[in-house]
Symmetry: C2
Subunit: 399 residues, 2 copies
């Protein structure tokens, strides 16, 4: 099968590398050789063996009937969306690692593919190399998924791990992460939770079968997490992780991205550094977890290349159940029940009047305030009770 | 689609329960309703709603053209094998949770299915509810798998967890596990590693594409693990787990089941109690891990029911790449390089003459012996060097 690659950046060149390094075993599993015929990029790569395949016009690819699949690794909604649509309309299957494209236009593109017996696959768009889209689509099909909670952003997980290991503050760790290339010069999309919100929107869409708009996901980043918060977390034997979480409630799913304190018994407790993981609770499966490299050139390319193998093995047959264009209005995330940790300078009397029985955490080296661990309540009830206190310095959700 | 269930024990009745509880969502994902028409069992179940579907003769099922898939949850090679073969020859797809059947006859039955455009699926045969067969088949298809290491037996993992938590000895914990129903009256298949050997043989077969005979897997159980060994493991910040491991070496794969000491940094370190997990290292993916319930009625039934959904979605089309009947002769497991822990009453001089630089672990409450942690070497070299010592009380492999 002849394919075209859109974009020869980190992921694109990774896909070319994987198809080359594992050419033989991939051909055996796919049932035929996979050959990159074109690589679309604005740049030229003189001296690179890829140069003879470089084209600068998408039309060359769209109009070549030999090309059966197009693989996109450019990122961003445009021109990726136009290229995806044009590819499918020209009868070519499409694989992408682009979460922005999938979160915004996934339903439409899957529909286009389905109508034509083509495939639109996007395993690498969530969790990098971790197999999660396909397992949700084919392995958890007998379950009603009641919860899906992921550590889906490697940058913030790296930063929180370092803050926890060395007691450092946010700004310090951000600088280090930028120096190491783990965080971008403008880290907003990572540290404010946008990236994770897109990913949990995609996972929730698969799970509920309808389009979840990522803008609706409640979102809190890690910019307000301090070294002091981490001290408190340690005192109650927990770690702080930026979780992207979706839970099934009576009227659908509610989703949020926020820092959460996790106990040692939670399968995500030990997911450190740039690793990602997705925890799933199915109504019959019980607890499951998928762990791996959430980013990086070769792990992500491994997932894209596996999509290509699926496309080869499933010519003329759409394999993704995916989701419909019907919008799934997320339920209010404040309906979820859990415990809450807060730091306050209010008196114990005031705290108990508001919350009843609580646990106190007092740190000798953090004078003038105290930590409070509430009982289980919905977030709506928490907000109501918390309004009675006059000075809450911090609130972090607790599992 | 009308199906028949073979066996109405724990797993069989679990499958019926899952198909009933999640009837609606399963029908949506499969594209049609799934109805159990017959249940084959020697027993009758008076008063149980299943009773009208009970049949005692397999022929009723084989001869009914309405039955498109047969689901087996009886265990053991016979009569499961005869029923599987007869079902496939009668044009019916087959799903099973039976590791003994798959390890022994998987290649032949997959071949039969492939020739007829049917499916022979067995997700639940390894790791219970954990999706692992399908991900290896479809998500890791672009990788050359270099290592697959599983905690694949819940009974022994429960026992080792309890030994570690409470410092108890093997016999004591076995008795408790039997009382709780986690270990059978004859625990041999679990504690001697036979169960795990069948499972790692299946996983290795998928990974190498050829038939791996489980009898060839080198096998050591946990019967010789004592409370003292666990003390030493703790002293070097490790846990002892019964690992089923397959590694790629120059001339194929080598596989073993044995207790191994794992460091905190290993993804399997925290897999406790009856949970199972499978660690995979792909040459491009890097590290990945799948975690979940390795046994139990509903988790296992969830995997079987997902196989049924795949069968419905893939009528006339075989989805498993599986493996051929060609036998893959396992490579000598003694070629694998690692560190070794041993307990000895020999002198330090003798130890250093044999192994060169080592680390010593001396436990004040275990007098008259010492623990030794060697450098990295192949197991063949270890055996050669160890032969020079006169009294080795214990050897445990170390990662």
């Amino acid at each position: 099968m002849k394919i075209a690659l859109l974009g020869y950046g980190t992921i694109g060149s990774g896909v070319a590398e994987v198809l080359s390094v594992n050419r033989e075993s991939i051909a055996r599993k796919a049932g035929e050789e996979i050959e990159i015929k074109y690589v679309l990029d604005l740049r030229d790569f003189p001296g690179d063996p890829i140069q003879p395949k470089i084209v600068h016009q998408f039309d060359v690819i769209a109009e070549d009937p030999e090309i059966e699949a197009v693989v996109e690794a450019m990122g961003g909604v445009e021109p990726a969306y136009s290229f995806a649509k044009a590819s499918l309309l020209a009868g070519k299957s499409f694989a992408t690692s682009n979460k922005a494209l999938v979160a915004k236009c996934g339903a439409e593109l899957m529909e286009l593919a389905r109508e034509r017996g083509l495939n639109f696959l996007f395993e690498a768009s969530v969790g990098g190399g971790i197999p999660i889209i396909r397992p949700l689509n084919t392995s958890l099909s007998a379950d009603v998924v009641e919860e899906i909670t992921g550590i889906l952003n490697g940058t913030t997980n790296y930063m929180l791990s370092k803050m926890s290991d060395f007691g450092s503050d946010f700004d310090e760790v951000l600088k280090e992460a930028q120096q190491k290339g783990y965080a971008e010069a403008d880290p907003t999309a990572d540290v404010e939770g946008d990236d994770a919100a897109r990913k949990i929107a995609i996972l929730t869409s698969i799970v509920c079968g309808e389009q979840v708009n990522f803008e609706e996901v409640h979102k809190e980043g890690i910019t307000k997490i301090s070294a002091v918060d981490i001290k408190y977390a340690k005192a109650i034997h927990r770690v702080i992780k930026l979780l992207a979480q979706s839970r099934r409630c009576q009227d659908g799913y509610c989703a949020m991205v926020a820092p959460v304190m996790l106990p040692k018994s939670h399968p995500l407790y030990n997911v450190d550094d740039v690793f990602n993981a997705v925890f799933v609770h199915g109504n019959v499966l019980g607890d499951g977890m998928f762990y791996g490299s959430g980013a990086g050139k070769l792990p992500t390319a491994s997932a894209v290349a596996a999509d290509i193998v699926e496309i080869v093995k499933n010519k003329g047959r759409d394999v993704m159940s995916g989701w419909s264009s019907k919008v799934h209005t997320l339920s209010d995330y404040r309906k979820v029940e859990r415990r809450f940790f807060l730091r306050t300078t209010d008196s114990r009397e005031a705290v108990e009047e508001a919350f009843g029985n609580v646990e106190y955490i007092c740190l000798p080296d953090v004078p003038g305030e105290m930590g409070v661990l509430t009982g289980v309540m919905t977030e709506a009830v928490y907000e109501e009770k918390a309004a009675a206190l006059s000075n809450i310095l911090q609130m972090i959700r607790v599992e």
